[in-house]
Amino acid sequence: MSVYLLRRLIQAVGVVFAMSLIVFIGVFAIGDPVEILISPDADQIERERAIRALGLDLPLWEQYLIFLGKALQGDLGRSFVFNEPALQLILQRMPATLELAIAATLGAIVIGLPLGLYAGLRPHSLGSKAIMAGSILGFSLPTFWVGLMLIMVFAVQLGWLPSTGRGDTVEILGMRWSFLTADGLAHLVMPALNLALFKISLVIRLTRAGVRETMLMDYVKFARAKGLSPFRVTFVHVFKNILIPVVTVTGLEFGSTIAFSVVTESIFAWPGMGKLIIDSINVLDRPVIVAYLMIIVLMFITINLIVDLTYSVLDPRVRLEGK
């Protein structure tokens, strides 16, 4: 187990370095670093001085080592727009994005799992066919357009929910959260649903496929032969088996949920990292872009690592092999 853990950790560190190299080359070699790192308003003399100060006259590999050294100390540059450390800026926005992504993931499971279960248990019923057609639509619908339609229906036409923003927040552990106030919760519903749409379809399909596959297993028939109630057969014997792939995939998808929150945050003016990165790309605030990319790569690799480990805990067979 510990050997496995160590190998996965080394792999993860390797990927982080590879990504830091790609981001570095992307920003410093492909783009114009002067334009990226020095405010466009600076005059010629300031530029010369800045180039020397930033070490842009040094060879590329030396620049990379400096970049890496600073990055390891948590220094990813200062935002031109906000004139604050880029990293700090990102970290301030992170709770909002995390809250949205967690709400969307939970929503996908709470909505998708029962629907998928139903579609798997009664594959030929009309309801199941409607659910499956809905899930195809969920895969095809452009997320951003659905977001607009949600606003149109629930905020503009019906006036049930607020259209944008986070609403009232409560501060816990130095971070602001929306879900603890009624107003904040009302603000959270639509963006979370919008972000969850694709995942709901995914969970429905996974659950349905899992149920149909598991129902054919001998151990389900044996469970019925033991005289267990249909309820227990479904919710203990079948459910526990499909939970493993569903949890794994939903977990792995958490990273992409965070990435896709870029779109949702832009629509609902949700003040998270995604909205910040779009604004930053639009005004060429490159230190923030670099910081965002590095943070999100780090998050991704951490999530993959956690999912791998969770998987081995959930499935007793994997646990044994790892030992």
């Binding site: 001998d218 044996f222 019925r224 032969a225 033991k226 005289g227 267990l228 014997h237 044994l320």
Partner: protein
């Protein structure tokens, strides 16, 4: 023990009496008559060997008795009298109360019958609690005793294991222990030793024989292996293409088969007595149940087939307690001895 009501169960009624059972599968390609007019009786404490090739309908017969035939399959007609009570007429809930309680089943592949993500104790205790309201501690004690009974060492520890930590033979013992938890009147065993090593197979057989004898449990032993039946069963029913083609006392049938199919089946088993002789074999393949021509299903492969075989023969009592579905049975077998 909350027995389902058994109205007018006559004293000394057989444990199971199946009459004219038909189980059909309604597939897109057509109706598959997997079990077509099957009748047999299993007496109290008796073992019936249900023999046939794969696809002969022997497993579906077992599942029909258990009430576990899944769509597109359905028991179309016939009676399944369990201690005088027709199982085919019971509601799902009434059937569930009998299943695993009075009638238990053991499956073919022990690697697949236990749920891989649930511990053995969970899977045993739930079986106890499905039929009896007892404290969990009591249920656990019974599970432990059952494991001990089927010869699993240190049952207390093994209860906490997951199925994948057991070998195939051990898993089948666990499955048998689960089947025995409520001391059922009938166990349907669907090729329970086929997937096991020969030595383990022998152990399990001996174990089951002992248990059946001590508890008075009746058994339906479904298999394609004649040698297993020879040592274990009291009666034998040979199935071919959804029908019973021969039925009788196991010794009689194996020594003096009447039906050419049974005859061929026995001849294709390698035996010490006929060492050196070429093995006889049954030519051809099992017919597809979808496109079954009228008449005897075996006639295309039968050395004795004649013109009248295009008419389906009845299951005829050629001798007392010797039934065979054939126009031209091997009567010389019985006459020689008589």
């Amino acid at each position: 023990m909350a027995d389902a009501p058994t109205p007018a169960a006559p004293q000394g009624a057989p444990t199971l009496e199946v009459r004219n059972l038909r189980t059909h599968f309604f597939t897109r390609a057509g109706v598959v008559k997997a079990v077509d007019d099957v009748s047999f009786t299993v007496g109290r404490g008796k073992v019936l060997g249900l023999v046939g090739e794969s696809g002969s309908g022997k497993s579906v017969t077992g599942f029909s008795v258990m009430g576990l035939v899944d769509p597109p399959g359905r028991v179309v007609s016939g009676q399944i009298l369990f201690k005088g009570q027709d199982l085919a007429k019971l509601s799902d809930e009434e059937m569930r109360k009998l299943r695993g309680n009075r009638i238990a089943m053991i499956f073919q592949d022990p690697m697949m019958t236990l749920n891989p993500v649930l511990r053995v104790d969970t899977q045993m205790i739930e079986t106890v609690l499905a039929h009896e309201k007892v404290p969990e501690e009591e249920a656990r004690r019974r599970a432990r005793d059952a494991l001990g009974m089927v010869g699993i060492p240190s049952p207390e520890e093994r209860l906490k294991s997951y199925p994948h930590q057991f070998s195939g033979g051990m898993r089948q013992r666990v499955a048998i222990a689960i089947a025995l938890l409520h001391r059922p009147d009938l166990i349907v065993a669907d090729e329970p030793t086929t997937a096991l090593d020969v030595t383990i197979q022998g152990q399990i057989l001996a174990e089951v024989q002992k248990l059946a004898a001590t508890t008075g449990t009746s058994l339906i032993w479904i298999t394609h292996d004649l040698s297993v039946v020879a040592g274990l069963a009291d009666d034998i029913a040979v199935m071919y293409a959804g029908k019973i083609v021969e039925h009788g006392d196991v010794g009689e049938v194996l020594d003096k088969p009447l039906h050419p199919y049974t005859h061929g089946l026995i001849g294709s088993v390698p035996s010490r007595n006929r060492r050196g002789e070429p093995l006889r074999q049954i030519p051809g393949m099992t017919p597809s149940l979808l496109s079954l021509a009228p008449g005897c299903a075996f006639r295309a492969r039968c050395p004795r087939a004649a013109a009248d075989c295009v008419e389906m023969p009845e299951l005829h009592p050629w001798r007392p307690d010797r039934l065979a579905r054939c126009h031209h049975p091997h009567l010389e077998n019985v006459e020689q001895v008589a």
